[in-house]
């Protein structure tokens, strides 16, 4: 795609966003929002058509949820009422959770809804409601409602989006296509994660070969053969005979299993660090939220268990000079 076309479309979107976040009549804002959404949608259609190969999933779902997310984001940066802006962020979260499901990230989709929409957003809503602004006489009551320098902000956003789009779509798309054998490799990897999940492997084998003695292992790993959607394991069955059993395809580790395995086995140090970050954030929040008392020098020494300065002073200073 030529850069000029790309920049033009992004520019139209940016102009739409500019008139959308500025205070104005309802009709103007609606029209501007539609123009901005339309520009992004047109860009998406152009890109999809250029890349081609729309056959497996349905593109309409990606389009719908993407547009819902963008609409929610636009409302979030422009809505006059802070609480409604926060509610529109929930719309963004739910729309991107839907996109996650389309991209087969089911666990993260639900975690996103629970943690983001359920926990983080509710905290934001609480603070929005707690910090209710009282408009004193001298204040401009519209202070919170006018955007601050919308033109500059939109220009910065436009440059950001143009650069991102140029980096993503200004090049050829051959690199985006994985080699065909990668799917088989991924399937093999998915089955192979059973090798380290002893409990799941035992359950899977017990389903097809009840009363088996043990799974044959070499170097601690079970002997497993993967062929497309099926996998077979070498076991010693109840009669003491070695044989190969085919596992039920339903025992293939799913998204959550793989995610957990990757998290714990692949990023153990990062996982611990995440825990440390959360703990420190909790301490930080406690320290910040505490009411700060203005203590004098004497009170502070008292709290720390030090003797009072006034009691020490006469002993130290004149005594030395006086004794000699």
């Amino acid at each position: 795609m030529s850069s000029l076309l790309l920049y033009t479309i992004v520019l139209i979107g940016a102009v739409g966003l500019y008139f959308f976040i500025r205070p104005g009549s309802f009709q103007l804002r609606t029209a501007a929002g539609l123009v901005g959404l339309g520009a992004i949608a047109y860009l998406g259609v152009l890109i999809a058509r250029e890349v081609g190969g729309v056959d497996q999933d349905s593109p309409i779902l990606y389009g719908i949820f993407g547009l819902i997310a963008i609409y929610g984001a636009g409302q979030m940066v422009s809505n006059r009422k802070p609480v409604q802006a926060a509610l529109h962020f929930i719309l963004v979260v739910i729309a991107s959770a839907a996109l996650f499901i389309l991209m087969q990230a089911e666990f993260m989709a639900f975690a996103l809804v629970i943690v983001y929409a359920g926990a983080i957003l509710i905290t934001y809503m609480f603070v929005l409601m707690l910090a209710d602004q009282v408009h004193r006489d001298g204040d401009d009551p519209d202070d919170d409602r006018r955007p601050r320098e919308p033109a500059t902000a939109v220009v910065v956003g436009f440059i950001m989006l143009a650069v991102l789009c140029d980096a993503l779509y200004g090049r050829d798309h051959a690199s985006l296509r994985l080699p065909p054998e990668s799917a088989a490799l991924a399937q093999q990897r998915q089955w192979m994660s059973l090798a380290v999940l002893d409990r799941s492997l035992e359950r899977a084998v017990a389903d097809v070969a009840p009363g088996y003695r043990e799974v044959v292992r070499r170097d601690g790993l079970p002997l497993m053969r993967v062929d497309g959607g099926t996998a077979s394991v070498l076991i010693v069955d109840a009669d003491g005979v070695e044989r190969e059993v085919k596992l039920d395809p339903r025992e293939m580790p799913g998204n959550t299993t793989q995610l957990g395995l990757s998290l714990v086995a692949g990023f153990p140090a990062s996982l611990e660090l995440a825990g440390v970050i959360l703990t420190m954030a909790m301490f930080g929040a406690v320290v910040l939220a505490r009411r700060q008392l203005e203590l004098g020098e004497e009170q502070r020494r008292e709290v720390m268990g030090l003797p009072r300065t006034t009691a020490e002073a006469p002993e130290n200073q004149p005594a030395r000079g006086g004794s000699t």
Binding site: M76, A86, G229
Partner: protein, 115 residues
């Protein structure tokens, strides 16, 4: 009973659409961070940018048929939760001092002259 969905490589157009949505959300979050006056909503806009990054992570992870992208979303959630706790603590602290949520009230970084 039901057929197990096999591992299918992602269509490049789907990756591109997801990345376009991600880039747009990021840009809108940036615009919002610069344009909103309400400090809480400014932080909410940074959450929007986190969201865009998470979308890109999942899309690239899906493209490479690897769950590591989703693992990074877990870390993004962690950082977002920590940020929410700290940022909201700070905002409440600032609100107590000036009785307003507007970031403009803090454009001059000095003590308010006591009346």
């Amino acid at each position: 009973m039901t057929a197990v969905t096999g591992v299918v490589p992602m269509d490049p157009w789907a990756l591109n659409i997801a990345l376009l949505v991600s880039a747009t959300l990021f840009a809108i979050g940036l615009v919002g961070f610069l344009a909103r006056r309400n400090m809480i909503l400014m932080f909410l806009c940074t959450e929007l940018m986190f969201q865009a990054a998470a979308l890109a992570f999942v899309a690239f992870g899906r493209m490479h048929l690897d769950v590591s992208g989703q693992v990074f979303v877990i870390f993004i959630l962690t950082v977002a939760a920590a940020e929410a706790a700290l940022a909201l603590g700070l905002v409440v602290l600032l609100f107590r001092k000036r009785e307003t949520l507007s970031a403009e009230a803090w454009s001059e970084l000095r003590e308010q002259p006591s009346a």
